[in-house]
């Protein structure tokens, strides 16, 4: 279990978080939704240690850790593939940085194959589609070999059809690779389709406003009456928060 306990952060006059707490179940899929500027991405920066927090603690499987820098893989909206490396080489980056190099090349090849990139492994990122690049970024994220995966709007830059195909891939991270997933998204439908828990966040200082746990099993359909009802509820919550910003 990942426990974020009483975390605080202030930027100048803005108190972004004050005593923010959240519990994320191990091997679970948790989605965070909230109004723009509420501090969702700051939370990831604090969790990864990119930005120092003012107070609070983080616990993973019961042990307090300084941050998740060495425990979590991080995937952002931009694929962040290096344009001079092939898809295979990009996927291999975490292994190469860790000095594991060739030892994990079979693993990278297997993952690329799993995500339908086998035939494009030696293409440069500039030569493939946005969806393929994002899938390669997912492979790279898996090659971190970390139990926690932080996803910061990983699909928001993609078109609707590509997003839909990648939803299945994201679900694989949980079901097949048993990762603990924490995803920031602006897309309420996406959150409801993928996550076990959808957390609605408030405006700064950020707090958990409400938590929803859709009961229907995955893969879900957005036409499911429960999801339709939850979507309307969450959107009205978000509207209320945005109005207050």
């Amino acid at each position: 279990m990942l426990e974020i306990c009483e975390v605080s952060k202030r930027f100048g006059d803005l108190q972004v978080m004050e005593g923010f707490s959240l519990t994320v179940p191990e091997s679970g899929f948790t989605a965070l939704v909230g109004p723009s500027g509420c501090g969702k991405s700051t939370l990831f920066d604090l969790l990864t240690g990119v930005v120092a927090r003012d107070g609070g603690s983080i616990r993973w499987k019961g042990d307090e850790v300084p941050d998740l820098g060495s425990l979590a893989a991080y995937m952002q909206q931009k694929d962040l593939l290096l344009p001079w490396l092939s898809l295979f080489e990009n996927a291999m980056l975490p292994a190469r940085v860790a000095g594991e190099g060739d030892a994990r090349s079979d693993e990278a090849r297997a993952l690329l194959k799993h995500l339908g990139l086998e035939d494009f492994a030696h293409y440069l990122p500039g030569a493939v589609s946005g969806g393929m690049r994002q899938r390669c970024a997912l492979v790279r994220t898996l090659m971190f070999g970390r139990e926690i995966v932080l996803l910061d709007e990983p699909l928001s830059a993609l078109d609707a059809i590509t997003r839909r195909s990648l939803h299945a891939v994201l679900l694989l991270l949980q079901t097949e690779f048993r990762k603990t997933l924490l995803m920031i998204t602006h897309d309420v439908e996406e959150a409801l389709l993928l996550a076990d828990e959808v957390i609605v966040l408030s405006r700064p200082p950020m707090t958990v406003r409400e938590c929803f746990r859709p009961k229907s099993s995955k893969p879900r359909r957005i036409t499911d009456p429960e999801l339709v009802r939850l979507k309307e509820h969450i959107l009205s919550e978000l509207e209320a928060e945005s109005d207050a910003l």
Partner: protein, 244 residues
């Protein structure tokens, strides 16, 4: 392709006007030789020009090598230590605001009439654009990429090797292109001030003897050398930066 023909046509037009002016007004060769005379001298006196061109080319190549040996570690150090960058930047800028003509006599006194003073002169001119471009390239790398590498557990040198250096390569080549183009200036000024070989030396000697066609021939050889080096850097850039 069309623009190439326009450039070629423009050059031909200028040369034709020049030729016509020299012939029509019977301008003496020691004032302004015609392009045909310059071309003849350039080709016919190649045996005289070549050994001097070789010396100048060597000075330029060694100047480039020396400037790279200074510029690359300097840019890396400045990038790794912003406080060092802040401290050294004023000196770098000041070094570029001193005219190379002012430095040339001093370098000849300190390093002699041989090749060393010219190599250093070329290096002084080249190292600044390379340092500035490379540093700019390092700084231009997106912070999100740096964060990704940090999360992978990469230290500074790993990030430099795998991320910052390839990222900065297009900037480096932009600086190098400027560098090789202006490198001839440093070498030739050095030769003007004091030397016994090189195209700059040949220009000074020919000018004193009113052999202006030879001065122009040396300029043609210098231009061709500069263009060849610029082209060489371009080829190198295309081979290395395949993703662009």
């Amino acid at each position: 392709m069309r623009s190439k023909w326009i450039s070629f046509g423009l050059v031909l037009l200028i040369l034709a006007l020049w030729e016509g002016y020299c012939r029509g007004f019977q301008v003496p060769g020691y004032i302004l030789p015609s392009p045909s005379v310059i071309l003849l001298t350039t080709v016919q006196r190649a045996s005289v020009l070549f050994p001097h061109a070789l010396v100048t080319a060597l000075e330029i190549v060694l100047g480039i090598a020396l400037s790279l040996a200074i510029a690359v570690p300097l840019a890396i150090t400045m990038f790794a230590h912003p406080a060092f960058e802040e401290a050294i930047s004023p000196f770098l800028v000041a070094s570029q605001s001193v005219p190379v003509f002012a430095l040339a006599p001093l370098l000849v006194i300190w390093l002699g009439y041989g090749i060393a003073s010219k190599v250093l002169m070329a290096a002084i001119i080249i190292f600044f654009p390379i340092t500035v471009s490379l540093l700019e390239g390092f700084k231009n790398c997106g912070s999100e990429y740096a964060m990704l590498f940090k999360l992978m557990g990469a230290g500074f040198w790993t990030r430099l090797r795998m991320l910052y250096w390839p990222w900065a390569l297009p900037y480096f080549f932009a600086g190098l292109k400027v560098g090789v183009t202006v490198a001839t200036i440093g070498a030739v000024i050095g030769e003007w001030v004091g030397s016994q070989k090189g195209l700059g030396y040949l220009m000074i000697q020919s000018n004193a003897r009113l052999k202006v066609d030879m001065v122009f021939a040396a300029i043609v050889w210098l231009s061709v050398m500069g263009l060849a080096m610029w082209k060489l850097v371009n080829i190198l850039e295309r081979r290395i930066i395949r993703w662009k």
